[in-house]
Subunit: 216 residues, 2 copies
Amino acid sequence: MVNTEKPKPVSQATLQRLPKYYHYMSQLLKQGREVVSCTKLASHFGFDPTQIRKDIESAGGAGRPRIGFDIPKTMDDIREFLGWNNANQAVLVGSGNLGSALLGYDGFAGREIKILAAFDNDPEKVGRKVHGKEIFSMEKLPGLIRRLHVHIGILTVPGSAAQTIADEMVAAGIRGIWNLTPVHLHVPENIIVSHFDISANLAVLCSQLAEALRHE
Amino acid sequence: MVNTEKPKPVSQATLQRLPKYYHYMSQLLKQGREVVSCTKLASHFGFDPTQIRKDIESAGGAGRPRIGFDIPKTMDDIREFLGWNNANQAVLVGSGNLGSALLGYDGFAGREIKILAAFDNDPEKVGRKVHGKEIFSMEKLPGLIRRLHVHIGILTVPGSAAQTIADEMVAAGIRGIWNLTPVHLHVPENIIVSHFDISANLAVLCSQLAEALRHE
DNA sequence: TAGATTGTTAATCGATTAACAATC
DNA sequence: TAGATTGTTAATCGATTAACAATC
């Protein structure tokens, strides 16, 4: 019988918390712990225990009353739920400072993406290797995306080029864009964009800080 | 008479949207536009017009019925509200890939922070310059923070060192930490932490993408 | 068994959206 | 003036938190 359960939608907030649990559990595992309770997770993160239970439940995890959550089991559930098992292949466009940093980044908590190749329109950079990955010219982008069925495009070009390159990615078959530019992208409905917005993040820090400093 | 108005709290969501409006307005300004309506902003971002009006209002901005919002005026209001006028001075610890990229990053929408110096505990790196900024040894961190009254610390060290370095920053007088590691930091109550969490951001992209691919 | 912890339903809270009056 | 757009109050929606029963 086919599974006809409606996949209850999971909020973005939950999706963003799950990798945190995963990372902390991997630390606990290294310390030799096999099991963890929501109480402990909650006090570590300053979250509500019920929230954590619901988050893990929506990722398909389950605990045992009186015992807690089995760490390796729950990590597997999160990996599976977040799609980290079928490592998402990605291409990166724009091998400037930020792009190069990502090519060498090893902090991905669960190896959630694999960057296959990088592209740049600067002839100076084309052909060079950055952190072991070759930089190709932009003309090769559509072919490679199609040939290897790459689904994710990482956008680390200057803001002025962002929309144009995003359009090229979409035309070549990219289905999800990780946008690290300050530009808001316009894409067709069926394309997913996640905006990793440096200014947005700093705005929270700076204004909360200003608020705190004002009160002393 | 002293201003006794309670500063109504502004949600994180609003704080994160304001820089987006700012950036888009700066683009419109370059195109020669002086005024913009919420309707236009809303259709650009796919947000609700009322939400944008409320956001701008909480930043101290105001529009004129029938006309819209004056772009330079509103940009000033946002700059002022987010504390971008008194450029926040910052130090960066950890001059690996990500740290080096930030030292050379010029995409800060409103020059919201100014990185004064970078630190690293690798003797190989100390003394070298990255994007025009000298790398100092960790021993110099507390002195420099105190002498220059730096309030913001940027954390780009490996996860295993994150908590230790954060503690050192706090001890030296840092009041806000921009955390780019995958680790959840424990800090005293009066310290602000903003976690720029790569895995959290990717989790949203990957799982929405997986969901979309499943339905075809 | 007793009690810690999960699982689940209900209540609260806050953010978003809708409705409409004010105004240039 | 008429009508587009702001400003503001009320309604809705969804996420978080609280309460409590189930269970190992």
